[in-house]
Subunit: 213 residues, 2 copies
Amino acid sequence: MSWERDQQPGARRGYHHGNLREALIKAALKLIAEKGPSGFSFAEAARAAGVSPAAPYRHYRDRDALMADVASRGFEAFEAKLASAWKDGAPDPFTAFERLGRAYLDFARREPAQFSAMFESGLAFTSFPELHSAGDRAFNVLRDACAAVIATMPEAKRPPVMMMALHIWALSHGIASLFARGDGARRPIPMPSEDLLDAAVLLYFDGLGVRKS
Amino acid sequence: MSWERDQQPGARRGYHHGNLREALIKAALKLIAEKGPSGFSFAEAARAAGVSPAAPYRHYRDRDALMADVASRGFEAFEAKLASAWKDGAPDPFTAFERLGRAYLDFARREPAQFSAMFESGLAFTSFPELHSAGDRAFNVLRDACAAVIATMPEAKRPPVMMMALHIWALSHGIASLFARGDGARRPIPMPSEDLLDAAVLLYFDGLGVRKS
DNA sequence: TGTACATCAGTGAACGCGCGTTCACTGATGTAC
DNA sequence: TGTACATCAGTGAACGCGCGTTCACTGATGTAC
């Protein structure tokens, strides 16, 4: 399948592709899924999109810029998924928090290509501001959720939000990248990774002294 | 610097390198450190070792086999470091457990090249049995340490060892790969990653009901 | 101890290939008037 | 509405390069007797 055919029937492309940017991203994701984050070339992405090898230069400075865009959009999709799982903490923060954790794992499982572009592509994300801020926005969903859980606690016992958010992130990310990811680097374990995460979060909450109402 | 000079003075190499396997691994690590796990080629490793591009084929079937050997040896070094930090739980399991966590982070910080070869190279480790078992041996250090902590608890309250070991692994690995790693993919946080891990483990222990004696 | 021989671990030349990048170009689209 | 023109987003040919891999080879090492 070549991407330029992925259009409305009848809306045939002519000299101009019309949607090359998106087509390159789709192609890159497909190639990453097949061969890992290092396994695609600029030229190959162009070929998959059905354009000449020079065409991508109209949209991206080089391969890394394309990779960074893939990762940025990955973070945006990730943020959206997390936000819709959290759903502003409805019906209660604990139920919503569990959904949030499952959404993290689910993303790693269903979108291993985006996941590895986001976390394992080796991009120095300090040099791609858009990537950096997209990552921050996704993290903020998690941090706000932690703040909501903390708000259920008596003031005297509340832990720092940032600490808790980093703990939960590390835990979720560890489980996602070791046990839940949907590619060959996944380590099989004798239980669903969701259960593993739920149990860890419950124990951590107990340690914090969080009490479900 | 080229590796073939890295020998005893006077022990000049002739036609035979003498230590090509090790030289290739050193070269691969150096290149991985510079350009990430995808950033080295078989030919480049040969050049760095000072041999012809055909020579590596005497030792490795292909680039992936070399990569797998790098990762295997990484796991061996990792296992040794963890075991020597754990030190059979002396003087007590809690002190030793804290050392163990710090050793995990320290490895990620000091050996980012090995770390990424081990965890982010994209090798399907099911197809490299030696890699698989080296990874298991490293994990076993962690699992034994968890068992020792659990053994301090009253029998009725003991959690499953495997669950605890996976929790601790995921937590340590999440913090190591997000915040402690010694390369460009590290995310800066406003506290030492050791403190972050220590706090998380303490809270998790509290949740389990572990009491320091 | 000496010699013949097998095996091992390299050489270096060669090949075809795909990549990244550039260039002058051209077809399509949008806009000013 | 029509036309001239600027701009945009592609083409396709070309380049030099490094890679992976093969091949027949050869120097060095180890061993049998």
